[in-house]
């Protein structure tokens, strides 16, 4: 269930009712949705009722075309999971700026929480 593409990787680990999804690499394809969306459509249905930790801190770069498929995956995950905890690195400029939008959007998503460290 891991995501493995040319530059972008996500490792899914399950342990005692919790799921950890750790992203690594960079998402800079012309159409990243072609990779992220089919993977997301397989993973998200398996998250029902679980606590999910999604870690973006290892990502080196996200282009703007990646925002929609990634944020859509998080939106679908919080629809089905118990809680979704998103981690990004607030000390990295582009991560802090990119995830600021999600911070605002997530205010209306009560079971999605973000931490920036």
């Amino acid at each position: 269930m891991n995501l493995v593409s040319d530059n972008l990787f996500a490792t899914v680990t399950r342990l005692e009712g919790k799921v950890s999804i750790v992203f690594d690499g960079k998402s800079d394809r012309q159409n990243p949705g072609e990779i992220i969306t089919p993977w997301s459509e397989k993973v998200v249905p398996t998250l029902s009722g679980l606590d999910v930790d999604v870690d973006f801190r290892g990502l080196k770069y996200l282009n703007s075309s990646s925002f929609m498929p990634i944020f859509k995956m998080l939106s679908s995950a919080r629809d089905i999971a118990n809680n979704v905890h998103v981690r990004y690195d607030g000390s990295v400029n582009w991560q802090r700026l990119s995830f600021a939008s999600l911070e605002t959007i997530a205010k209306s998503w009560p079971n999605l929480h973000l931490s920036n460290h």
Binding site: Y61, S64, F67, S98
Partner: protein, 163 residues
């Protein structure tokens, strides 16, 4: 104060050009603070993506150009490319007008993201130019003539004040 420097990069219309411009602009801004360098790299990358996605042949060559103007105080990044489909020009003009008319482009960006997540947007996401205006802290303008589209992003703050 030193004279402003202009650096012009050729962008072949292939996707590898986008990662290459990130490296080249990163090197160009290597002596600047991280925040300035990261913004410049992101702006150049987003504009280069537009060139590769929507660019057309110019003077019998499949290339566009990114130009970085850099002074002690400020920087700006311009993209130039021929456009084959006028609808792309109209879309760029529309989003830049919307950004410039907005009191807070970040609200525009969030509204756009919400619509994209809800699946209620047809056509291109337009998040690239919104990101340049918001995360890139830049004023945007564009002009179109002789089939060539120029998009200009002028960083708002002095590069010395950006930390």
């Amino acid at each position: 104060m030193t004279q402003p420097m202009e650096h012009r990069f050729e962008i072949p219309l292939v996707w590898d050009s986008v990662s290459k411009i990130r490296l080249e602009v990163g090197v160009l801004f290597s002596s600047y603070i991280d925040e300035v360098r990261d913004r410049a790299v992101m702006i150049a990358s987003e504009l280069a993506e537009n060139i590769v996605k929507y660019g057309a042949v110019i003077d019998d060559e499949r290339v566009g150009f990114i130009t970085v103007c850099l002074s002690d105080e400020q920087f700006s990044i311009h993209s130039h490319n021929a456009v084959g489909d006028i609808r792309h020009v109209q879309a760029v003009e529309a989003i830049i007008e919307e950004i410039n008319d907005s009191d807070d482009p970040s609200k525009l960006s969030i509204s756009r993201l919400r619509k994209l997540i809800a699946g209620s947007v047809d056509g291109p996401s337009q998040l690239g130019l919104l990101r340049v205006a918001t995360d890139g802290n830049s004023d945007l303008s564009c002009r179109f003539g002789d089939t060539v589209l120029t998009i200009e992003a002028v960083h708002r703050d002095s590069v010395g004040d950006a930390a």
